[in-house]
Symmetry: D3
Subunit: 67 residues, 6 copies
């Protein structure tokens, strides 16, 4: 159990690999969540489209906008 307050189940849609970083798009219900992680992490997790994953975000990283 990890302290990050936001943890949502989803499915990997796309993985784009750069030299150092990777961009992973995860479908979470109706939402698309985009993660920029290191390429080595994406490789360690062997992330590929269709994988069932959990996206995690620490509460201190979430902002709120109101019109």
């Amino acid at each position: 159990m990890i302290s990050a307050r936001n943890q949502f189940k989803g499915q990997v849609k796309t993985v784009k690999l750069g030299t150092v970083m990777a961009e992973v798009v995860v479908q979470v219900g109706d939402l698309e969540v985009v993660a920029a992680i290191t390429r080595a992490s994406a490789e360690n997790l062997k992330l590929k489209p269709g994988d069932v994953v959990t996206v995690l975000v620490k509460a201190t990283e979430v902002m709120i906008a109101k019109e």
Copy 2:
């Protein structure tokens, strides 16, 4: 238009105010998203339960877990 890749519409459920920080829980569809922002931000936005808001998260702050 802001560069943060993750922007989701929701509705404020609860606002808890500390001296410096505030915790805001936002209902986004089926998901509960928790934000820790400064109390002054919560007051500037006059956040209260029922408010329609957008939660924003920069892609570099999102992690992925896979079993």
Copy 3:
């Protein structure tokens, strides 16, 4: 209106595109502010030198040094 406490008007000086990430330098008055955002964000915003933009930083991301 967004909860990020630091929001400063400026003008894009340079945009460097990598595969996944992009580095954007923004002139804010006398200061040069450097942002590392995803390449897709830079493309979505069609960022180019001369653009008038706002740089945003969440208060929880700011550190302080004192001699």
Copy 4:
């Protein structure tokens, strides 16, 4: 010399102490920069109004908005 790309000289305007966190407002030229750091850090640095300090922000924490 530290890797954080954004480092700006300023002067502390206000320090608000909570139990765990502290909010420090720093005047940087015309700009007010707000930092949320731990109370213990504010105490370790003995931060008080008038102190000459440097605010630091990692480039990966900076977002950009464009109208």
Copy 5:
């Protein structure tokens, strides 16, 4: 398995609870690692001195200084 590149085993030394946030000090070998998480997370995990835990830090949050 989570994408955060830095994961270190340790033991909780102290937990300080504020209204919204909590400060947790973890002994990791010779090092003391300090985490500021939400109070609700500290309570969800029932963190107390002596607990065996893992501290996690995303690589994009690590800075480097060199003299």
Copy 6:
């Protein structure tokens, strides 16, 4: 003196340069710490294997997991 609560001495093991970002692995005692910083920062610091450095992490960026 900088407000970041976590500051650990170590030695650079590897530096991998991408177009925008760089991955730096630092040996801190028994631990390997991974940092994703901008390539320009790695170049400004002239980081190379063997360099004695300090890794820094803000307390708000540290998470805790407990089984």
